[in-house]
Structures are given as structure tokens and as C-alpha cells.
């Protein structure tokens, strides 16, 4: 069992409520293993098929049940028909360019219909992500989700985005802050902008928060994602704590988030530093499979993931000048970091195995 050394921490903080409340969304997911069920959301419905556009407010299945007098056969056909019609409408909007993007380049329609649909099988079937406490993200207004970062490739960010998108009761969209490397690379930069990601800088984060968006940030950055396998689940330094002052300025709560499972997808046992410097990358991972098996080695290990959103830390109680107070900033940064670390250890204790 290649588990990290688990240090049992004092679990004295009032987290009992979180845990019992957090089980709910996890159980909700254990319905039929089909697409996501979002009858309660309604605002932004997601279809399991790429290319199926649904008019807002359209409720599938239930609406058509009474008139389908000719049994499930007719209903199925009608459903299929509607999907084709929706797909054609989607296609029509795409090829004529009649869709909207926001100032960050976020293409909500493409994200909902295509990008999320592509990520969902990885999320549901491959990593079998279990989400806890997603209701800790407020239903409206800005919030800053702060998570640990791991796994060599930033799959954890994408999975967190799917988790919020598919499971939040208010159907919120997570806007991730990404490293500048993402926006240098072709294709990656285009997709990242369309999926709603933007550069991890104070200006962009504050602008998004002031617009009332849920912003996701991983303050460990490359130190976290590119750390060797031996240091798994040990949080690295949280940058310079810039995320805290941004949240303080925007007066939005900070939601700590702990992701378990991403550390083991690419066990990084070495780092080809010379090659990394040549390519201008922060690191080039060497895993038990990666350079040796070629492209096959780049397939992540199918670990079982848990994403736990913790209780929000309010920032609106501080005076406006608090964002300029380095001591308070360090304290809050430590508080967020500690909470994520504690939750990580607790989830690791609860975990039965890496893969199941």
C-alpha cells in the first residue's frame, strides 16, 4: 500500500457538521450511472451528449411522459428526435458564430455542451470522483475556492471544475486561475480560455470575484503539481498568500478544498531537469511508465478520487484596510492551508485503497 504517512491530527474543530452534511451529495450521485441529473438546478442544464443544445428551462423526460401513450418506444424516439433537433440548433449557432463569450474568452455554451461532456467520462468512470460538501460554495455571489495541487498534469483542476459544474445545487461555474505556461502553449491556451480559465494574477482574480463568480485557485502552483511522489499530500508553501488579499479586497469568502487521489495518477519518481530547462518547462516528470512506454506511459493511473469542499472562511468581517496587513494575511493563509492539510489527512485515513 503506497499510502502517505498519515499523522493523526487533532480533529477538534467543529467539523462534525461538515462531515455529516457532506455525505449527502456523495449519495446523490449514486443514482443510475447515466449522465448527471440536474432537475433541481434548471439554470444551466447539461446534456450527456455533445452537440445537444437544450433550451433553458426545458425539463427532459418528465415533460414528455404523459403524452407518450404508445409506451417507452415512442417516448424514446421523441427524446432522440429532440436531441437531433437540439444538436442541429447548436451546430447552426456554432458555424454562424452567433454565440457569446465574456471578456475572459469564456464560452459557456461550448463548455457546457462539449468540454464538460468530454471530461465527464474521465470524471465519472475513470477517476470515480466522490464530491463532498459542494454546498459550501455559496449559491450566489463571489467565492474563492482554494485547493491543493498535485498530479504532474493539472487534471485536478479540471476535475474540480466538473465537480462544481455537475453537482452544485445552483449550477455554478468554477473559473480556474491557471499558470502563465497554459496561455503560452498553443491549443491549450485556446481551450483554457474557452473553458473559463484565466491567468493567475491578482487583477484577473479580483475582477472575476467582483463580478460574483466562483474562482478556483491552487496557490501551490508548480511546487505542488511537480513535487516528487515521496512528498505526496504534503502541502507546499502557498505562494505569497496573494489569494488571501485578493479575497479580502473583494470581500468574498474563501472555500478550502482538498483533493485526494490526484497525487497517485502520475507517481513522479524523477525530474529530467536539463530537458526541462531546454524546453522551458518547470519540470519534465519521470514516472515508472512515462518515458519508457512512450505515449502509453502518459495514461494516468485510475485512482479513486475524493474532492472535499470545506466550510467557507468569511472575509467580510475585516476592515477594508485588512488587505494591506501582512500579519493578518499570513495568519489567514496559514489557516486555509492548515484546514486543507487536516482534511487531506482525514480523507486519507478514511480511504480504503488508492484505486477503490
Amino acid at each position: 500500500m503506497a499510502d502517505a504517512k498519515v499523522i493523526p491530527f487533532d480533529d477538534d474543530r467543529s467539523r462534525g457538521g461538515t462531515r455529516s452534511g457532506a455525505q449527502r451529495p456523495g449519495r446523490r450521485r449514486s443514482g443510475p450511472a447515466g449522465g448527471p441529473r440536474r432537475e433541481d438546478g434548471g439554470a444551466a442544464e447539461v446534456s450527456p451528449l455533445p452537440g445537444r443544445a437544450v433550451a433553458p428551462g426545458a425539463v427532459p423526460e418528465q415533460e414528455h411522459e404523459p403524452e407518450a401513450g404508445d409506451g417507452p418506444r415512442g417516448a424514446g424516439r421523441r427524446e432522440w428526435d429532440r436531441r437531433i433537433a437540439g444538436g442541429l440548433a447548436f451546430l447552426r449557432r456554432r458555424i454562424t458564430g452567433e454565440y457569446e463569450v465574456d471578456e475572459f474568452g469564456y464560452d459557456e455554451e461550448l463548455t457546457d455542451q462539449v468540454l464538460m461532456a468530454l471530461l465527464r467520462p474521465v470524471y465519472d468512470k475513470y477517476f470515480r470522483v466522490e464530491v463532498k460538501g459542494v454546498e459550501n460554495i455559496p449559491a450566489e455571489g463571489g467565492a474563492l475556492v482554494v485547493a491543493n495541487h498535485s498530479g504532474t498534469l493539472p487534471l485536478d483542476g479540471l476535475m474540480m471544475q466538473v465537480a462544481v459544474h455537475d453537482h452544485h445545487p445552483a449550477g455554478r461555474h468554477l473559473r480556474l486561475l491557471a499558470a502563465d505556461l497554459v496561455f503560452v502553449l498553443p491549443v491549450v491556451s485556446e481551450l483554457a480560455r474557452k473553458a473559463g480559465h484565466t491567468l493567475a494574477c491578482a487583477e484577473d482574480a479580483e475582477r472575476l470575484l467582483r463580478r460574483g463568480e466562483v474562482v478556483g485557485v491552487m496557490p501551490e502552483g508548480f511546487k505542488g503539481i511537480g513535487k516528487p511522489f515521496g512528498e505526496r499530500y504534503k502541502l507546499q508553501r502557498f505562494g505569497r498568500g496573494g489569494f488571501v488579499s485578493t479575497a479580502l479586497r473583494a470581500r468574498t469568502p474563501i472555500v478550502p478544498c482538498s483533493i485526494v487521489g490526484a497525487e497517485e495518477i502520475y507517481p513522479m519518481i524523477g525530474n529530467a531537469k536539463t530537458l526541462a530547462r531546454l524546453l522551458g518547462l518547470p519540470y519534465v516528470p519521470i514516472t515508472p511508465t512515462f518515458p519508457w512506454l512512450g505515449p502509453l506511459g502518459a495514461v494516468p493511473l485510475p485512482t479513486k478520487w475524493t474532492i472535499q469542499f470545506g466550510e467557507p472562511i468569511a472575509t467580510d468581517g475585516y476592515p477594508p484596510e485588512a488587505a494591506e496587513d501582512p500579519m493578518l494575511m499570513f495568519n489567514l493563509t496559514d489557516q486555509v492551508r492548515e484546514q486543507i492539510q487536516h482534511t487531506l489527512y482525514r480523507l486519507l485515513v478514511q480511504r480504503r485503497s488508492v484505486f477503490f
Partner: protein
């Protein structure tokens, strides 16, 4: 006593239109149009003064007519007629220096408006997504029109410091589009097939010519109540279009070119004379640029009539359909939808899960 307005760069469409507009303003006595070459379009009742702003003669013009408002529009990226990049750069930089020197000497000058561009922010992957007037760019433009504009703005700041009694307004325009626009981007969008940078979909912002004229008019006049028209302002239409949206709305197919080959393709296109593919334009078409217009709304008190999409639609109408008109594509999809068997016919969907 009414105002005497001097406008530079009147041989261009924008300058000509502004001269014709500003002379109808109440309180404007006289309008002087200055350019090196005589304009091909009429200037109404305005007086045309054939002068080169790169020469000290411009100082005599200011003194002779007692000019109190100077509108400097001769900061552009494209050469007018003959003359290459060198001449453009000279007019932009040396011309501005001479003009500002003349303004500094002339005690009558009360107001200076300078046309600049949002390309002073550059365009780099490490920049924030939205530029404010106060954002300092991570990488300064290394050449071309953008560098000219940065230098021009530097001289204007120096002038504002030396003549604090003059109201100075710098307007940073996003890409100007419209039926008569002659900007490099308008030329680019007129190509039958648009070369794009592979793997990047830049965010673009446009401002319509009519809005440009309107904001110039506001800047040239006394500020209205509750507004302030001196300072630096970004001017752009609401919203954002990506390059892929633009090409689809124009109906012009794109050819993605990998980044290393783009400069080569750009040089080839420039040699043929199709369009000016300067390195800064390639950077714009790689990383895009979006500016915040909050200052324009709140301080300057200007609401653009056209959104970015609206300005682009007006431009697209003026250029005629491309090779793949969106209307035809939409009609094709509609035909496909009509040809599809209805829910009552065929057993195609029978085995599908509901």
C-alpha cells in the same frame, strides 16, 4: 469669441469626417485641417492648411490663427499613399514632438486631444485578461505602430507636465472598424481567406467609426456636468469577439498556420502587398487584447452606440459576403433539419435509451 480648432491628419477618412462634424458644433468659430497632402474628400467650411507637422512651420499656423483646441489624429499605423513604415514613424513620433513643441510655445492653446491605441498595452500571454488605463504592460511593444504610440504618449505626458493649464486627453482606441475604416485589421478581415495562428483564438474588441467621432467630439468640447474629459481613456465597444467568431460571422474561412511559420507567411503577404502583417499584429492575432471601458463610461461620460459585435456586423455588411456566407450555412443546417424524418416516421430511434 468662439473656439478655433486645429485638426491634424485630415487627409484620412476619419480626420475628414471629424472636421466636417466639428464645424457644426456650437461655439466653434473656425476649423483648420492640416495634412501633408490635400484630402480627396471635402472638408466643408473648414480651412485646409497644407503643412507638414514634422516641420516647425506648424508653430506659425498655431500662432497665426490663434488656435485654442488641437485635435491630433495623425497618429496612425498605415501609410497614406506612397511612403513606407519610415515615413509613418516619422509623422507619428517627430510630428507629435513638433506639434507639442508648437503647442507649448502657443499661450492660446487650452485643450489637446491625442488619438492613441490600445496596442500600447502590447499583447502577451503573461498579461492580465483585461487592461485598465493604469495597467503597466509586462512586455512593451518592441516596434511598429504600437511602439510609436507608446512614445507619442510619453511625449504627451511630458507636455501635460510642462503645461498644466492645458486640458490633455489621450484616447486609446481599440481596433477601429466600420464601412470606411482603413486600419490594418480592416485590411486583414478583407482577405478572402484569413490566416490565423494555430492553437490560439484571440479575443478582440472593436469600436465603430461613428463612436470614434462622437468620443472625439466629447473630448474636444468643454466637459459636461459631472464628467471630466482630460486624462487617458480606453475606448472600445461593449463585449468581446474571438477571431473564430469574427471569421464565421464574416463567412471567411481560416487557415491556421503554426506560430513559427506565421512570420514567414506574414512577410510573404506583405511582399505581395495584401496586408500589413507586422509582428505586433501577429501578436494581437495570437494573444488578443481586451481593455476595460469603465473610465470611459464613468469619467468621460460616453456610452458607445455600437457594441463590439455591432461594429463588426456593420463592417461585415460593408464588405459583402465571404466564401462561406453564414446565411447559406445556416440555411443548409435548416434544410438538414427539415429533411430529417419526423417523430412519427421511421423506426430509427426505437432502440435508443430515453
Amino acid at each position: 469669441m468662439g473656439r478655433v480648432v486645429l485638426v491634424t491628419g485630415v487627409a484620412r477618412q476619419l480626420g475628414g469626417r471629424f472636421v466636417r462634424m466639428v464645424q457644426r458644433e456650437p461655439g466653434v468659430d473656425r476649423v483648420l485641417g492640416v495634412d501633408v497632402v490635400a484630402p480627396g474628400h471635402g472638408l466643408g467650411n473648414a480651412d485646409f492648411v497644407q503643412a507638414d507637422i514634422r516641420q516647425p512651420a506648424i508653430g506659425r499656423v498655431l500662432a497665426e490663427y490663434g488656435v485654442d483646441t488641437v485635435i491630433h489624429l495623425d497618429v496612425t499605423g498605415t501609410p497614406l499613399g506612397a511612403g513606407g513604415r519610415t515615413a509613418v514613424k516619422e509623422t507619428n513620433v517627430i510630428g507629435t514632438m513638433q506639434l507639442l513643441g508648437a503647442c507649448q510655445k502657443s499661450p492660446a492653446v487650452r485643450r489637446l486631444v491625442v488619438k492613441s491605441t490600445t496596442s500600447v498595452y502590447g499583447s502577451a500571454p503573461r498579461d492580465p485578461a483585461v487592461f485598465l488605463e493604469t495597467t503597466s504592460p509586462k512586455a512593451l511593444p518592441s516596434g511598429g505602430f504600437a511602439k510609436d504610440a507608446v512614445e507619442v504618449e510619453g511625449y504627451v505626458r511630458g507636455f501635460a507636465r510642462r503645461r498644466p493649464d492645458v486640458a490633455v486627453c489621450v484616447l486609446r482606441f481599440a481596433n477601429i472598424l466600420g464601412p470606411g475604416a482603413d486600419s490594418p485589421l480592416a485590411e486583414y478581415f478583407s482577405l478572402p481567406v484569413l490566416p490565423t495562428v494555430f492553437g490560439y483564438d484571440p479575443r478582440l474588441q472593436f469600436v465603430h467609426e461613428d463612436d470614434v467621432l462622437e468620443v472625439l467630439r466629447i473630448a474636444a468640447d468643454e466637459p459636461r456636468r459631472g464628467t471630466l474629459n482630460s486624462g487617458t481613456f480606453n475606448v472600445a465597444g461593449d463585449g468581446v469577439l474571438t477571431l473564430s467568431q469574427c471569421s464565421r460571422r464574416l463567412g471567411r474561412p481560416t487557415v491556421p498556420v503554426p506560430l513559427p511559420a506565421v512570420t514567414w507567411v506574414g512577410t510573404a503577404l506583405r511582399t505581395v502587398g495584401a496586408t500589413d502583417f507586422s509582428p505586433e499584429q501577429i501578436r494581437l492575432l495570437t494573444h488578443g487584447r481586451v481593455v476595460s471601458t469603465a473610465q470611459m463610461r464613468e469619467t468621460l461620460g460616453f456610452e458607445p452606440a455600437y457594441t463590439t459585435a455591432g461594429a463588426f456586423a456593420a463592417f461585415a455588411r460593408s464588405r459583402g459576403p465571404g466564401l462561406l456566407p453564414p446565411k447559406r450555412l445556416a440555411a443548409a443546417v435548416d434544410r438538414l433539419a427539415a429533411a430529417r424524418p419526423s417523430a412519427d416516421g421511421g423506426g430509427r430511434g426505437a432502440g435508443q435509451p430515453g
